[in-house]
């Protein structure tokens, strides 16, 4: 970072050798973090846009939770179509997840004939810009069933009359995604400051969304750090992590220097995958037996260390305070170096 251009950071603000940057980052985030309110206010608006925020979100990010509570994907579109509402709508339709259960008004099972009659909601089918015939054919293809449609009724004929199988099929059919991408959630069209349309989806299926025609692959973004990691790699995950931390703190009007957040993101991702802060992540990776034992699960670490004959290199802060040595940070990071030959000279002089 410092090697390239100035990047807005003046040279005199570079940290010195031995500066405890981790401690500074922790205090700089932690202190204003105490002012964060647990219950956050939401905008009255569309259900899908309500995302976890405040302290719960920070915990989620820092603990590296595999599944965020409210994944959201931001989909920008290719330059040719991003100003065209109709075309954007078409893309959104390819993404917007429509389940059978949301368009079926009533399902009537006939166990003696082995048929399932689905009465579709006209409104819902029209909203998805489909016809009952399309629904029937898609269902037939996707589930390998014999499906016929008439008006707003779809009739599924099964080969079996087994009560259990009929019911199972009904349940499966209702769960089937008939349009859009499975797990993409509700797709909503928004407009940004420049007048460009973009799509917000309440899911994290960026692996599938990226293949949808018209999507700007370079701008695809989700708040799910692990989804970003799977699709784009660690660097993207690191940036996402830092971005999300910054966004959450900004929402709460908490002003933290972004370099502290970048350090957290770096510490969590430098190993090549994402590690949380805690006993299974960063703290559990510490080199020192004592530092780990001092944090959590004391007995476990001591027993393991004894079993494997572990050696504590005594390079961290915690273990050095524990035994009563000077910590290797700040003024303690300086060591005196002397040539062996000189040392011998001093010793012989002393003895004389």
């Amino acid at each position: 970072m410092a090697e390239s251009k100035n990047n807005g950071f003046d040279k005199k603000y570079r940290v010195h050798y031995g500066e405890p940057i981790g401690m500074l980052a922790a205090q700089s985030i932690g202190e204003p973090g105490t002012q964060m309110i647990l219950r956050t206010f939401h905008y009255a608006g569309i259900e899908a846009t309500i995302a976890t925020s405040g302290l719960p979100r920070i915990v989620e990010l820092v603990d590296a939770k595999k599944k965020p509570a409210t994944p959201i994907t931001q989909i920008y579109l290719e330059p040719g179509i991003k100003r065209n509402f109709e075309k954007v709508e078409a893309v959104a339709r390819k993404i917007n997840e429509v389940k059978m259960s949301s368009i079926v008004r009533r399902a009537i099972e006939n166990f003696s004939k082995g048929t399932i009659k689905l009465i579709l909601s006209k409104q819902a089918v029209e909203a998805a810009e489909m016809t009952p015939a399309q629904v029937a054919s898609k269902l037939a293809k996707a589930m390998d069933l014999e499906v016929k449609s008439q008006d707003y009724e779809v009739l599924i004929k099964l080969k079996t009359k087994n009560l259990k199988e009929v019911r199972n099929t009904t349940v499966k059919v209702m769960k089937k995604v008939i349009q859009g991408i499975e797990g993409a959630g509700k797709a909503l069209i928004q407009q940004d400051k420049n007048g460009d349309f973009y799509i917000i989806a309440a899911g994290n299926r960026i692996e599938d969304i990226i293949n949808v025609e018209g999507v700007d692959k370079s701008k695809l973004y989700t708040n799910d750090v692990f989804a970003m990691y799977r699709l784009f790699g660690v660097e993207a995950a690191r940036n996402t992590l830092a971005n999300e931390l910054m966004k959450t703190l900004d929402e709460q009007k908490i002003d933290v220097d972004r370099r502290h957040l970048l350090l957290v993101a770096d510490a969590m991702t430098y190993s090549g995958d994402i590690k949380g802060v805690g006993r299974h992540g960063l703290s559990g990776m510490k080199n020192s037996v004592f530092a780990r034992a001092a944090y959590e699960e004391t007995a476990k670490h001591l027993v393991n260390a004894a079993t494997f004959g572990e050696v504590d290199p005594m390079r961290g802060v915690t273990e050095n305070i524990l035994v009563g040595k000077q910590i290797p940070l700040g003024t303690g990071s300086v060591r005196l170096a002397i040539r062996k030959s000189e040392m011998k000279k001093i010793r012989t002089e002393k003895e004389e």
């Binding site: 031995g18 500066e19 405890p20 401690m23 500074l24 922790a26 205090q27 001591l302 027993v303 004894a306 050696v311 802060v317 305070i321 524990l322 035994v323 009563g324 040595k325 000077q326 910590i327 290797p328 940070l329 700040g330 003024t331 303690g332 990071s333």
Partner: protein, 607 residues
Amino acid sequence: MESKSNCYLYLNGKAIGYVEDPVKFVNEVRAARRKGQISGEVNIAYVERIKEIRINTDRGRLRKPYIIVENGKSKLTHEMLEKLKKKEINFGYLLRSGVLEYLDAEEEENAFVAFSEDQINERTTHIEFDLSALFGLTLNTLPFPEHNALARHAMSANFIKQAEGLYATNFNTRFDSRAYLLFYPQMPMVTTAAYEAVNLKSHASGQNFVVAVSTYYGYNMADALVVNKAAIDRGVGRSVFYKSYVDEERRYPGGQRDRFRMPSPVAEGYMGEHTYAKLSEDGIVEPEMAVEEGDAIIGKVAPPRFLEENIGAGGLEEKTRDDSVMLKAGENGVIDSVVFTETTGATRIVKVRVRSLRIPEKGDKFASRHGQKGVLALIVNQEDMPFTSDGIIPDLLLNPHSIPTRLTFGHLLEMIAGKAGALSGKQVDGTSFGESGKNRLEVYEKEIEAHGFDRHGDDTLYDGITGRPFKAKIFTGVVYYNRLYHMVSNKIQVRSRGKVQILTHQPTEGKARQGALRFGEMERDALIGHGASLLLKERMLDQSDKTTVLICKECGNMGYYDYIKRTPVCLLDGTTNLEEVEISYAFKVLLDEIKSMHIMPRIRLSE
């Protein structure tokens, strides 16, 4: 269920049947109760929404009396009120004669209660006794509770618990382990009906302070209080603190027992002559003796801890151990009284009460009855306090910022009411909802104006230092303040060097053990943040539990120094190649504990 009239009937939560015509049934039960045919403790409620009748007769229900209204007329007539005044009839009579009745929470839902007689309409079933009955007893002992935020009442109730006052009139013969007594308790200028009714005024817990809502050179920022020195000298907030010490002549198996007496200089643990200087011949201090920390106040000797063979001692004197009671660190006072008595086990006990004067000083806590607490921060000479042209000098200066965010308007009202009362020489009634707020204020304002003061309570104050009038008029009044028993003199503690714990060799914690202040995790983090590694080492090691141990260079185990051979020796391999290493004693304990679990920790030394 589908039937229109059928209605389930519950008795104390258990379904016992159903009723055809619920309204008629409920009315019949109530009429019977009012006639005295069934107990007045029965309550019945009809929940129309879910068609249920609930009869409750069990214990633990909160109930409240109401005046019954029938056919648009209150059953409590003026004749009855007159008789009540003459004490010809009483409350119980009114209850029995169906004029009053108790409702519980469920039956209250069926009632239509009017606030006063002129509000009665065709739906009215009851009248509220008095609007102040909307609050409970505790709240009604406070003045103007309807003008304060509820959270402040909760605080206020807590503070009054902690207030010093006349807690018992037989305090002189009591030996409470701790007791506080206010020198000149006063009845509050602003009282309430409930305050009078429970006779709190004969156990008053505060004094009426002349308060000015003003700043004083920043000395009353953030709930700090500025108090007039002359007021303190006249006895404002002055109190006495009693502390009792008890000791017993215990009996031990083997016929031995403790004895109250002056310990002999050969007794085990004898503290030196000066410690016992204040004890009289019987081994107990005399009343009115001034005592200080460390002084023995009850001299007692106990038999030695371990049975020893007394052969060879010649039977000269029985061996004893000193077990006297000393005055604790930081305490002092005068012996108030000494009492000898006996337990049921026929052992002698002695109780010694120490009295010490507590004149208000910086750091003492005061609170008004509106949840407004403060800590005395400056005692100002009378001549430097602001004063009015009449020469009135406030006892206390309250920072104006303490009012608006806390919504304690009752405090301001009490100031005005208290001022009116003080000027006219009469106690003022501050019962909740007494008169509608505005009228009440007007009464006080007129009273104040009649005595030649500004009707809003704002007086022109003059700066005591420069003598010039302040540009703004300053709100002054009389408020009842409580002195709370949190005093610096009971809490102050200092230590430079001192005791350490046996196990870890680290300094002790807490005032009772003369402990040090903990240099905690967050303080540690702060030093790390500054990179002050040597200062951190000093705190965590040099000033704490530093020890020097000998570590074997060959095996990494701890060794010892052989003073005869004048060489360090390793416990494990017997070699003499050891090095002195400074470590924390806590770490040594850790290593020992690990070893006790059959794990061998080794310390590798490097240059």
